[in-house]
């Protein structure tokens, strides 16, 4: 018979805080100003945009039915091909001397008020940062729930003051093959670029994130500012933006250039329109369901049908995927 004497550091299961209590504690701390603590305790050099923290919670985007994915998962399971093609690559590779501060963003194209501005100066100009909890759905059929901090994209566009002929908005990521290993390999067309129709960009859901969970956004998630369009597949969310342009014609986007039969300009989350290689009807819910994980049905427009369906009235979404 094997008699096992417990080590002094071993705790009985009963001593562990139940998960629900643990999560409530986090929510409680967050409302108390967890963001402030996080921003103050973290050295500035680690993160880029520190302006705007602590952020204020926007109650309109805090659906109690949405349970945020753990910070650890959000910041260690990333698609950021500039830093490697495996999900585990960006976290170590984006934090080895790649600098996201200072960071200048250029807003131009068909606007009356073209600007070149430091990211930390931009945030106060946008009225500071707020927190919104959004669903996040990757084209690879997995999903998270992410508390983003940042400001509505519409504010930025209003600030830039588009000319009447502007119909689309483009977003361009940095180009730095010297310091960023992935950009030395022709995996994709560098720098990464994305686009939205102007009315999509002006929708209240479209968001520029500068933080996650009340803390400045880590490099691997697209520091210092990235696009968040929650009703579209994650690849639309251009990371580490250096340039935003208003243009007259529908722009291309990186993944569409790469495989036009698989990735379109719109990339709206749609459970009825499959990827040619896999079904989009359901998704893995990251961080849920223990070792086996959990799968749930994917919602039309990722659950934001009320807010965005009108944008696509009369369009054939199977063709304009």
């Amino acid at each position: 018979m094997l008699i096992r004497s417990p080590k002094e550091w071993e705790l009985p299961e009963s001593a562990a805080t139940p998960e629900s209590v643990y999560h409530h504690r986090r929510t409680f701390l967050k409302t108390l100003g967890f963001g402030l603590a996080g921003a103050a305790l973290t050295p500035r050099s680690l993160f880029a945009t520190t302006a705007g923290f602590p952020t204020r919670v926007n109650p309109n985007y805090r659906d109690p039915a949405l349970k945020p994915t753990a910070y650890e998962h959000i910041t260690s399971y990333n698609n950021f091909y500039e830093f490697g093609t495996d999900k585990a690559d960006p976290k170590p590779n984006a934090n080895q001397g790649w600098k996201t501060e200072p960071w200048t963003v250029e807003i131009g194209g068909l606007v009356r008020n073209p600007t070149k501005i430091d990211a930390n100066e931009l945030v106060p100009k946008m009225g500071g940062a707020e927190q919104r909890v959004y669903r996040f759905r990757c084209v690879e059929a997995w999903s998270m729930v992410i508390p983003w901090d940042g400001f509505p994209l519409a504010k930025l566009i209003q600030f830039a003051d588009p000319k009447p002929e502007a119909k689309f908005v483009t977003f361009t990521t940095f180009n730095d093959p010297k310091n960023v290993p992935g950009q030395r390999r022709p995996i994709l067309e560098w720098p990464y670029f994305e686009g939205l129709r102007l009315d999509e960009a002006m929708n209240d859901l479209s968001f520029i994130a500068t933080g996650i969970y009340g803390r400045p956004i880590p490099n691997q998630n697209g520091a210092p500012l990235r696009l968040v369009v929650p009703w579209k597949y994650g690849f639309k969310g251009c990371k580490s933006i250096v340039k935003i342009d208003l243009v007259a014609k529908q722009p291309r986007n990186t993944w569409q250039v790469m495989a036009p039969d698989e990735y379109g300009f719109y990339a709206n989350v749609n459970p009825q329109v499959d990827h040619p290689r896999w079904s989009q009807a359901s998704e893995r819910v990251i961080g849920e369901g223990g070792a086996l994980g959990r799968r749930q049905r994917t919602l039309m427009f990722n659950g934001y049908e009320k807010q965005v369906a009108a944008l696509y009235q009369g369009m054939n979404l199977a063709k304009l995927y």
């Binding site: 093609t85 995996i187 040619p276 990251i286």
Partner: protein, 220 residues
């Protein structure tokens, strides 16, 4: 070399070599507790089982061209003793990979969606077809099946393993958004060996060793 040859002749050694790579996910999941691997552990296991199945299938297919090219090598002879074991283990990994796939796709609740995709998407159809081929070849790897089919027919049937390899190479490449280089590392050596086998520089000897390799492996 004789030591390696001696080791490779032994079944327990081959069993160990087959089973060990299957245990690889234990490392990030339980030892290093790699946060990225723990984000969706089943996905790691799913991809890894598929990877090992590809590796074993490509490996077992190199045995014949190796024997044609270096018929006198003790090492090659040692490897060729284990054709059936390695081949069937490729099927075993593929079968567990597919079971994990069903689980990963949501189990019973999502079965209709999963099967519909399995039978309609080229990425998944190729995997399913390869699995079916490997199932057939595993069943007919029994001595009784060899006798029942006869050596020639058995040999022709088992050439389907090459079809399975081609299907699996496509399946593996299509699993990622960008082309994964591992497909080259896994199937590249096999392609090179097959090309060498076709342009075998050993002249008439090549003919004889090819004839030798016509014999079903289970009888050797």
């Amino acid at each position: 070399m004789p030591l390696l040859e001696n080791l490779l002749r032994r079944k327990p050694v081959i069993w160990t070599l087959i089973l060990l790579p299957g245990l690889w996910p234990v490392w990030p999941l339980f030892v290093t507790k790699d946060s990225s691997a723990l984000t969706d552990p089943l996905k790691l296991i799913l991809h890894h089982l598929g990877f090992v199945a590809c590796l074993l299938l490509a490996t077992v297919l190199t045995f014949t061209p190796l024997r044609v090219l270096w018929p006198k090598s003790g090492l090659v002879q040692a490897l060729n003793r284990h054709r059936r074991l390695v081949g069937v283990s490729a099927f075993a990994y593929a079968a567990i990979h597919y079971s994990v796939h069903l689980l990963y796709e949501g189990g019973v609740e999502f079965l209709p969606i999963t099967l519909k995709a399995d039978l309609s998407k080229p990425f998944l159809v190729t995997g399913m077809s390869a699995l079916t081929i490997l199932l057939g070849l595993s069943i007919t790897s029994l001595h009784a099946a060899v006798r029942w089919l006869g050596g020639k027919r058995w040999k022709q049937l088992h050439r389907l393993a090459y079809v399975a390899a081609a299907l699996v190479a496509y399946h593996q490449a299509a699993a990622r958004k960008v082309f994964p280089m591992q497909v080259i590392y896994i199937f590249g050596p096999l392609v090179v060996l097959e090309i060498l086998r076709i342009y075998n520089p050993r002249g008439p000897n090549a003919q004889r060793s090819t004839l030798n390799s016509q014999r079903p492996s289970s009888l050797t």
